[in-house]
Symmetry: C2
Subunit: 166 residues, 2 copies
């Protein structure tokens, strides 16, 4: 369905029953090589690897690159939805995301260095015929409603359940 | 190179010059359809889409599924590295991750609902010949050093740079 139809269908479904808004996404798989991880999400294969310097075969992007791709794509798609919601014409979106990692954290070489990104930068270019003020308005609406930007910006409760023999 | 060789090579390179630990990962691309985003990271293509109910063609996993895949794969690979570092035999790792999203946030239907995951669960099964106590020790070391678990658990500073005409 179109973006406008999807906005309407979801709004009506959620107005009818707030429980329709609560969805669970998932992925599952295993480590099948030194660093090759094969995963599947809703029937879609996702393959992950590391470069040679991190003991991998460099067949696929690595986990932190997928994290950045998740943010970049979520931004672009949220531009698409919120442009339709706000009545702003949008032809396309170009996006680049980069993140700074300090491997002292991952390798445990300095326990005061965080393992994850110290900082992330998003460069985003909405493309279309509207005056720039409308794209600024759109950018602010997107940043308030983008699921993966929220994931990066705020803490998320994570429960880890380890399966080993008792 | 092997995992053990990679641990040694990285440790030596970082001991020689702490700046070698600071690396920048990136992704870049654009929105090429209603919700299809084509990205590239270090030569590796990453394609993202949404299901029909979110106006997409359902060709690929969606952004939040890639976020979960990023976490699942980072956990599995961090098990591999820390098992080698701690001298724990590890044959494989099975992993499943799920996350709870409330679409009131994304659609702006309730501004008190966060756009991102309200909670995430990791089910992880290390496979190998060691006594379970060693895998519990490994799990704790992994959770202290996994870059994407850190990203999920803690706030990360994100700078957004919008390119529009002045």
């Amino acid at each position: 369905m179109s973006v406008t139809a999807a906005l309407k269908a979801n709004q009506e479904a959620i107005a009818g029953d707030a429980g329709n808004a609560r969805v669970v996404f998932s992925t599952q798989g295993s480590l099948v090589g030194p660093t090759h991880v094969q995963l599947i999400s809703r029937g879609h294969a996702i393959d992950v690897d590391e470069p040679d310097v991190l003991a991998g075969g460099d067949q696929f992007a690595n986990p932190v690159e997928y994290a950045l791709a998740s943010l970049a794509s979520c931004q672009a798609i949220t531009y698409r939805f919120w442009a339709a919601k706000l009545g702003i014409e949008l032809d396309s979106v170009e996006v680049a995301v980069e993140g700074d990692l300090d491997l002292h954290g991952f390798f445990g070489l300095d326990e005061t260095t965080r393992a994850g990104f110290k900082g992330v930068r998003i460069d985003i270019t909405p493309i279309g015929p509207e005056p720039s003020a409308r794209y600024r308005e759109l950018a602010d609406a997107v940043d308030a409603h983008c699921p993966v930007l929220d994931l990066f910006s705020n803490p998320t409760p994570v429960e880890r359940r380890l399966a080993v023999a008792a």
